[in-house]
């Protein structure tokens, strides 16, 4: 008898050790998973850098690069200072009450997301916390991506500091509010209206796209973009192959972006100990993403090729394909994703033309690709996905996905983007911080702002100076 008890005790101890080992493995897997999404998402920025510089004329190529790189750099500390805190503080809205899931509200945000006081322990190296840093890092990359979406639309005439202020408002505040409201288990758009936006079609892309529209209205078009009769001219960038390659890099990086939208087991905010979930706690698999992202990319390219035959619009179509299906990448059937993305690819260029005919000079089509198609994607899920659980658990916990809820979400995302974009750029314009003077724009921003030459051996009067 004693021998049997001893044997049982040994077996229990072995099981406990095994269970502890599995938990450690899970924790390390989760940490590695999110860590790897960060360099993947930095590829998005390599893409934005390439496509913005390619879309710029020779005289502006480096200043577009400087603007883009600097926005990325300012996103990280500002998201650390307050963006991360905003995400956790306001899911239930203002004034920041705690939500039913118990992971939101001012008190919670103060405890985990501030770089001082008690929260500091979760905002720096901590031997007992393998989640906060990588989760923060992934979100900081979402923020940087959001700001970079606006960046391309305003090239060749915006002031650097004015642009950085706008980027901070967008990347470390506006989209974060949208994420808190619609991309969090306690978000009021989710709990009250059943909003579902798995891959952030609305809360990242639409917010950024319509923020850019608000800025463009105050910024005005580039000199020479429109004729006296209001007709538009095409201002070609200096390097279309670079632009197209950049767009392809953005597509590569979006695999990391969407991978980071998955909540895997083993970290502090995991929904389950044994399976991945969306940020809403509903099921998701990486296989689902593989099926649907690939089909969406293909559908978007084919749809835009049909009428444009233009590699710029084809690669923009790839991006539009992903964005148009992003809200429901977890539950679309691959052929549905293809068809929706195909339709997005078809409407892309006409939507961009419509905007241009109203005097908006969006140099890279960001308002259309991200804004219009982002809202299209949110609403599409309301049409196709009605009745599906929006949040983890039974339907009684929150409304299921529904058309009205998706439309309300789309309207909120439009306003969260457009209003701050318009208001802040209007204030910057009042203080003379939005647009560079006409003479400098004509001379070229590289000559005015950048002590370097993009292509010193041709066409840019690069002086030969003594080496220091």
């Amino acid at each position: 008898m004693e021998e049997q008890i001893a044997e049982l005790v040994a077996q229990v101890a072995a099981l406990e050790a095994s269970s502890a080992g599995a938990a450690i493995t899970n924790t390390m897997f989760a940490e590695t998973f999110y860590y790897l999404t960060i360099p993947l998402m930095i590829i998005i920025h390599a893409g934005f850098l390439a496509y913005e510089m390619g879309a710029s004329r020779l005289k502006n190529v480096l200043s577009s690069g400087v603007k883009n790189i600097l926005a990325f750099a300012f996103m990280i500390p500002t998201f650390y200072f307050f963006g991360w805190w905003v995400y956790w503080a306001f899911p239930t809205g203002i004034p920041g009450a705690a939500g039913p899931a118990g992971i939101s509200g001012l008190e919670y945000a103060n405890a985990i997301a501030l770089g001082w006081g008690d929260g500091a322990q979760y905002m720096g190296p901590n031997i007992a916390d393998q989640a906060s840093g990588v989760f923060f890092g992934a979100f900081a990359m979402f923020a940087a991506t959001t700001a970079s979406i606006m960046s391309g639309a305003v090239i060749e005439r915006i002031q650097t500091v004015g642009f950085i202020i706008l980027a901070i408002v967008l990347g470390s505040f506006a989209w974060v509010v949208a994420a808190a409201w619609g991309w969090h288990a306690d978000g009021w758009l989710v709990t009250n209206f059943g909003l579902h936006d798995f891959g952030a079609a609305g809360l990242v892309h639409a917010v950024a796209g319509f923020f850019a529209l608000g800025v463009l209205i105050n910024l005005g078009p580039r000199i020479g973009k429109f004729n006296a009769d209001g007709s538009a001219n095409h201002i070609p960038g200096h390097n279309m192959p670079l632009t197209v390659t950049g767009l392809m890099l953005i597509i590569v990086g979006f695999w990391g972006f969407l991978m980071a939208c998955v909540i895997v087991p083993g970290e502090a905010w995991s929904w389950f100990a044994d399976k991945p979930a969306t940020i809403y706690g509903t099921p998701i698999t990486l296989s689902a993403l593989s099926f649907n992202i690939l089909m969406a990319i293909a559908g978007g390219i084919i749809g835009s090729w049909l009428f444009t035959r233009d590699p710029f619009w084809m690669m923009s179509g790839a991006l539009a394909g992903i964005i148009s299906t992003a809200s429901g990448l977890d539950i679309y059937f691959p052929a549905m994703a293809f068809i929706i993305a195909f339709s997005a690819g078809i409407i892309l260029k006409p939507c961009a033309d419509w905007l241009e005919n109203r005097g908006i000079d969006d140099a890279v089509g960001a308002v259309t690709v991200h804004g219009t198609i982002g809202l299209y994607g949110v609403v599409m899920l309301g049409i196709w996905g009605s009745g599906y659980p929006a949040l983890q658990g039974a339907a009684g916990d929150a409304p299921t996905i529904n058309f009205v809820g998706q439309v309300i979400g789309a309207a909120v995302f439009f306003l969260i983007g457009f209003v701050p974009g318009y208001v802040v750029s209007y204030v910057l314009k009042m203080f003379g911080m939005l647009r560079i003077p006409e003479g400098a724009e004509i001379a070229g921003m590289d000559l005015v702002k950048v002590p370097a030459h993009g292509y010193p051996e041709w066409g840019n009067k690069a002086p030969i100076t003594a080496a220091e």
Partner: protein
């Protein structure tokens, strides 16, 4: 609509895509295939017209 009686993922242990367990996925696959073929046909036609202009 959610293809199970209870609108909860706890009752699902298989396909999780929209319209699972119906014939709809097959129809969507068929439509997607038709789109691919149609786009190639239209693309060939318009490209042939454009290239012809350079032969004249």
């Amino acid at each position: 609509m959610f293809p199970y009686e209870e609108a909860s993922w706890s009752v699902v242990d298989g396909p999780m895509y929209m319209l699972a367990n119906t014939s709809a996925p097959g129809w969507f696959t068929f439509i997607a295939a038709v789109i691919c073929v149609a786009v190639l046909v239209i693309g060939q036609k318009s490209e042939a017209e454009k290239t012809k202009r350079f032969d004249e």
